[in-house]
C-alpha cells in the first residue's frame, strides 16, 4: 500500500514466474487463436482495436501491470514489468521507476529511461493524436535521472497517479522511432513490423489472414511457455467458431448462444468462462434530440425516469435474452472494478409503484388504447437499437412489451451499427440500448456520467447532470485513502442510481471455446491475454502444429 509521506521502495512481487514454476516446466506448443477481426496497426500509441491490443500485450511491456484484483488506488497489487522497483517522492508528486537492467528490445538494444520519456512524449503529443492522450493528461512530465531511472512528475496528488503512469502506456523504442516525423507515425513501417520488449517477438502479419508471434528466449522475466501464438483471422464469426470446432484453431474468445453448447458437447474442447468489463444499459436522453439546448420533454423529469425504471423487469430481460451469459447490472460499474460494493441496491421492479407514480405525475390512462396521456400528449418514446446486435433487438422488443403494460408507447428504431453510434454520440435519440467497456479505473466514470462530460462532444450521452454526483466523484478520485475512496464512490453510485439516467440491465460474462490441450492461466477481466506468457500446452497433449517453428529453448532468467 502507498504511504505518501515517506520514500518507499517497492519490493519485487513474486507473481512473475511463480505460476510458470508451478506448471509443467516444459516449453513448447502453438496456440492458434481464431478471431473475427484483424488488427488495424500493431503500434500501441496509435491503436485501440481488440486484436491489436492482444498482440501488443505480448510484444510490448508496461512499467507495471495491475494485479488480478485490478486495484488502481496507489501501487497496491501492481506487478513489476519493465520497472523492477519504484519509489515515491516525499511530497508524492513524483514516482521514480528503476528499470530492469536485463530488459532488451527484440533487436538487442538495451531498454533505457530515455525510452520511457520518449514514450510519454509520444502519448501526450497532439500531433500523434493518440486515443490514449486524454488518459495520460495527469502526468506533468517525465525526466531521466539516469539511464535506468525514469521519473514521472504530477501537478497534483491523486489516487491513480501510479495507475496513470503505468497502465496507459506500453514503452516504445526511441532508437527506432525518434527519427520518424510524428505526423507520419501512422504510416511508419514499425506499425507493420513492431519491435518490442515483451515475452514474444513479432514474426509475421499476413494482412487479413494471420498474425504470428514467437517466444522471446531472451526475455528478462523468463521465456514464455508457448513457442508460438497465431491469431488466425476469419471475419465471419460463425466461421471463426467453426475453426475451433474443426480443430484448426485452439481458442475462440467470445462464444454465443448455441455455440456454447456445441463446444461443450465435444470431448476434445472446453468452455472457459472468464470475466468481462462490459455492461449494457438502456439510456434516457435528458436533452431534447430536436433541440439539444433544451431539456427533453419526458426524460428531464427525474421522477418520470424513476417511474419508468420501476416498470422494467431487468431480471426477466437478462434471463430471457442472455440466460447464463450475463448477470444483472449493478449501475454504471461492474463487479470487477475495485470500488464495486455489493451493498449498492438498484431500483427494484415494482410495476404497481411505477403506475401510481405515473398517475401522480399526471400521466394517466384516458383512452381505450391503454396509453397514458398528459396535456394531450401520449407518453412514449423511440428506442434506438443497432441491427448488428441480436440480443439488443430482443431486449428492445421485451422492453416495448413491458412499457406497454405500464401504458407507455415505445417505437423501436433500428439502424446499422455506424448509424446508431453516430446518432447516440450526437445525442440524436430519445432512448437507446447501449454498452460500455470499462477499463480498471473507477475514475473512468468521469468520462461517461459527470456534468463536465455532458457538454457537446463529451461522452456523457444521457446529458445527466448532478452536482452531488460530481462532488462525490471528485472527492473519490483525489483521496489517497482506499477506504475513503470506496466510500465516496459508493455514495456516487447510489446518487446516480437514484437519479435513474439509465436502466442498468446487464453485466456480460464471457465464454471462450478452447481445445482441452490449452491451459489458460490468470485471465484478467480487462485483458484476458495479458498473462499469455504463462499459458501452456502439456508436452503429452501436443499435436503436429505444436512442433513447428519452435523458438530455441533457453534457461529461464533468474528473477
Amino acid at each position: 500500500m502507498r504511504q505518501p509521506a515517506f520514500i518507499l521502495s517497492v519490493v519485487l512481487l513474486a507473481a512473475c514466474g511463480t505460476d510458470r514454476a508451478k506448471s509443467t516446466g516444459e516449453n513448447g506448443g502453438t496456440l492458434v487463436i481464431s478471431t473475427p477481426s484483424d488488427a488495424q496497426l500493431i503500434f500501441p500509441v496509435l491503436t485501440e482495436d481488440a486484436t491489436a491490443g492482444q498482440v501488443e500485450a505480448q510484444l510490448f511491456d508496461k512499467l507495471a501491470e495491475p494485479g488480478m484484483a485490478l486495484h488502481t488506488n496507489g501501487d497496491a497489487g501492481f506487478e513489476p514489468r519493465l520497472a523492477k522497483s519504484w519509489s515515491w517522492s516525499r511530497d508524492s508528486l513524483s514516482i521514480a521507476f528503476a528499470l530492469d537492467p536485463r530488459a532488451r528490445w527484440h533487436d538487442g538494444a538495451p531498454v533505457t529511461a530515455r525510452d520511457v520519456r520518449f514514450t510519454w512524449q509520444l502519448y501526450s503529443d497532439s500531433v500523434v493524436a493518440s486515443p490514449s492522450r486524454p488518459l495520460v493528461a495527469a502526468i506533468d512530465s517525465v525526466t531521466v535521472r539516469d539511464s535506468l531511472t525514469a521519473v514521472f512528475w504530477f501537478a497534483r496528488r491523486g489516487a491513480e497517479q501510479f495507475f496513470d503512469a503505468t497502465f496507459q502506456m506500453r514503452i516504445l523504442p526511441e532508437h527506432l522511432l525518434a527519427s520518424v516525423p510524428r505526423a507520419e507515425l501512422q504510416s511508419a513501417p514499425f506499425g507493420q513490423h513492431p519491435v518490442g520488449t515483451g515475452a514474444f517477438k513479432f514474426v509475421s502479419w499476413e494482412g487479413r489472414q494471420a498474425i504470428t508471434i514467437e517466444a522471446n528466449p531472451d526475455y528478462y522475466r523468463g521465456r514464455p511457455h508457448l513457442d508460438r501464438v497465431i491469431w488466425s483471422i476469419a471475419p465471419d464469426p460463425q466461421t471463426a467458431v467453426l475453426r475451433v470446432l474443426s480443430g484448426e484453431a485452439d481458442w475462440y474468445e467470445a462464444l454465443r448462444g448455441p455455440d456454447i453448447a456445441a463446444v461443450a458437447a465435444r470431448p476434445e474442447l472446453q468452455v472457459v468462462p472468464y470475466r468481462s468489463m462490459t455492461y449494457g444499459y438502456l439510456i434516457w436522453n435528458e436533452r431534447d434530440p430536436k433541440n439539444p439546448s433544451a431539456p427533453s420533454p419526458i426524460f428531464a423529469d427525474r421522477a418520470l425516469r424513476r417511474a419508468l425504471t420501476l416498470g422494467i423487469d431487468r431480471a426477466s430481460l437478462v434471463k430471457s435474452v442472455y440466460d447464463t451469459a450475463a448477470i444483472l447490472g449493478h449501475g454504471p460499474i461492474n463487479t470487477h472494478i475495485a470500488t464495486f460494493d455489493s451493498i449498492i441496491v438498484l431500483l427494484p421492479y415494482a410495476p404497481d409503484s411505477a403506475k401510481r407514480l405515473l398517475d401522480a405525475l399526471g400521466w394517466r390512462v384516458t383512452g381505450a388504447d391503454g396509453m397514458r396521456m398528459k396535456n394531450g400528449r401520449t407518453l412514449g418514446f423511440s428506442l434506438l437499437v443497432p441491427t448488428s446486435s441480436a440480443p439488443r433487438q430482443q431486449l428492445a422488443v421485451l422492453i416495448q412489451e413491458q412499457m406497454k403494460r405500464l401504458g407507455v408507447k415505445v417505437e423501436i428504431e433500428q439502424g446499422d451499427f455506424t448509424t446508431v453510434v453516430r446518432r447516440v454520440t450526437t445525442r440524436d435519440f430519445e432512448a437507446a440500448l447501449w454498452g460500455t467497456i470499462l477499463d480498471p479505473s473507477p475514475a473512468g466514470i468521469r468520462q461517461s456520467w459527470t456534468s463536465a462530460a455532458a457538454a457537446p462532444g463529451g461522452s456523457n450521452l444521457a446529458g445527466y447532470k448532478s452536482a452531488a454526483f460530481d462532488a462525490y466523484i471528485d472527492s473519490a478520485v483525489h483521496t489517497l485513502d482506499p477506504v475513503r475512496e470506496k466510500a465516496y464512490f459508493r455514495r456516487a453510485y447510489e446518487t446516480i442510481i437514484a437519479d435513474a439516467p439509465a436502466v442498468w440491465i446487464n453485466e456480460a460474462r464471457n465464454f471462450a471455446g478452447a481445445s482441452k490441450r490449452v491451459h489458460p492461466v490468470r485471465m484478467r477481466a480487462d485483458a484476458w491475454t495479458v498473462n499469455l506468457a504463462e499459458w501452456y500446452i502439456p508436452a503429452d497433449q501436443r499435436i503436429a502444429r505444436d512442433n513447428v517453428g519452435s523458438a530455441p529453448a533457453a534457461p529461464p532468467a533468474k528473477p
Binding site: 486515443p131 466461421t239 455506424t418
Partner: protein, 323 residues
C-alpha cells in the same frame, strides 16, 4: 477489330468513372462516417475526432470532398484507409491476386465442367443421362451461393475434415513447408471456395451449352459431316462444339459481374481475403476511400471481362472480325 476494341475501351473508362462517382456520392450521403465506426468514443476526445474528420475532409461539403478525392486519384493516390491504417493501394495489392486466383480457377473450372456436362447432355438428348445432369444443374443453378458455401463447409470441413474451414493457408504449418507442401496447402484451401463457384457457374454454362449444341446439331452441315462418315465424337467435337461456343462465350462475359457478386459472399463465408471480403468490411466501416477504390477495381474487372469476351467472340466468329 481495333476500332471496335478502342470504342469499347473508351466506353469502359466512362463506365468506371460513373460507377466510382455514384459510389462516392452514395457513401458520402449515408449516415455515420469512418471516425464513428473506427474510433472509440470512450477513449478519444472530441478534439481528436474533429482532427481526424478535418484530415479526411469529412467536415467539408460533398463537392469539396469529391474534389479532395479526385485530386488524390489524379496523383495516383487511392487514399488512406483509417479503419486499417494502411494505404488503400497496399490493401488492394494484397486482395486482387487472391480474387483473381479464385475467379480464374472458378471460370476455368466452370467452363470445363459446364462444357463437359452440356456436351454429354447433347450427345444423348432426353436420355436418363441428359435428365440426370439437367436435374443436378438445376439444383445448383437455383441454390443461393452463400447457402451452398455453408453446406459444403459443413459437410467437407466440419464433419469430414477433408478440407480446411477457411483462409488461403494454414498459418500454423505453412511457413515450415517446402514448395510442394505449400502448393498442396494452398490447393486444399482453394477446393471449397473454388468448388462452390464452379458448381454454381458451371450449372448455367451446361444449360447454355446443351441448348446451343442441340441447335447446331439440327443444322445441315452436321448432317453433311455425318454423311462423310465421321464418328459421332468427331462430329460433336470438331463441328458442333466450335459453332456452339459462341453463346457460352457471351454468357461468360455477361456472368462476370455475377461471378464477382457471388465471390463477395463466398469470400466472406470462407474468409478468403480477396476483393469481396475487403469490400464488405470497408462498407461496414464506412471506409469510403477503400469502398470507392474497391468499386473502381471491381468495375474495371467487369469492363475488362466484357472486353475479353468481345475479343474471344471476334476470334471465334469471323463475321465479328469483319465488322
Amino acid at each position: 477489330m481495333t476500332r471496335l476494341l478502342a470504342r469499347r475501351a473508351a466506353q469502359g473508362v466512362v463506365i468506371v468513372w460513373l460507377v466510382a462517382t455514384f459510389t462516392f456520392v452514395l457513401i458520402a450521403l449515408a449516415p455515420g462516417d469512418i471516425v464513428d465506426a473506427t474510433v472509440s468514443l470512450d477513449r478519444s476526445s472530441a478534439v481528436t475526432r474533429a482532427h481526424l474528420r478535418a484530415e479526411l475532409c469529412l467536415d467539408r461539403g460533398l463537392v469539396v470532398r469529391y474534389g479532395c478525392w479526385i485530386r488524390s486519384l489524379a496523383t495516383g493516390n487511392l487514399g488512406w484507409s483509417l479503419a486499417r491504417r494502411r494505404p488503400v493501394s497496399a490493401l488492394l495489392a494484397e486482395a486482387i491476386p487472391n480474387t483473381l486466383l479464385l475467379m480464374g480457377l472458378a471460370i476455368a473450372g466452370s467452363l470445363l465442367l459446364g462444357l463437359a456436362a452440356g456436351i454429354a447432355q447433347a450427345w444423348r438428348p432426353r436420355s436418363a443421362l441428359d435428365r440426370g445432369i439437367g436435374a443436378i444443374s438445376m439444383f445448383f443453378y437455383s441454390m443461393p451461393d452463400f447457402w451452398l458455401a455453408l453446406i459444403l463447409m459443413f459437410l467437407f470441413a466440419y464433419l469430414a475434415h477433408w478440407f480446411p474451414v477457411s483462409g488461403t493457408t494454414d498459418p500454423a504449418v505453412y511457413p515450415s513447408l517446402g514448395f510442394w507442401g505449400r502448393f498442396g496447402d494452398r490447393a486444399r484451401h482453394l477446393v471449397l471456395p473454388a468448388g462452390t463457384l464452379i458448381l454454381l457457374t458451371s450449372a448455367a454454362v451446361s444449360r447454355f451449352q446443351r441448348s446451343a449444341m442441340l441447335e447446331v446439331l439440327a443444322q445441315d452441315f452436321v448432317r453433311t459431316a455425318r454423311a462423310k462418315g465421321l464418328s459421332e465424337w468427331q462430329v460433336l467435337t470438331r463441328h458442333v462444339l466450335r459453332n456452339a461456343l459462341l453463346p457460352v462465350i457471351t454468357l461468360l462475359g455477361l456472368s462476370l459481374p455475377g461471378l464477382l457478386g457471388g465471390a463477395v459472399l463466398v469470400e466472406r463465408v470462407f474468409s478468403w481475403p480477396g476483393m469481396g471480403m475487403l469490400a464488405t468490411a470497408a462498407v461496414t466501416d464506412r471506409d469510403y476511400p477503400l469502398v470507392v477504390a474497391a468499386t473502381v477495381v471491381a468495375s474495371v474487372m467487369v469492363v475488362v471481362g466484357s472486353l475479353l469476351a468481345d475479343v474471344l467472340y471476334a476470334l471465334v466468329d469471323p463475321r465479328v472480325r469483319a465488322g
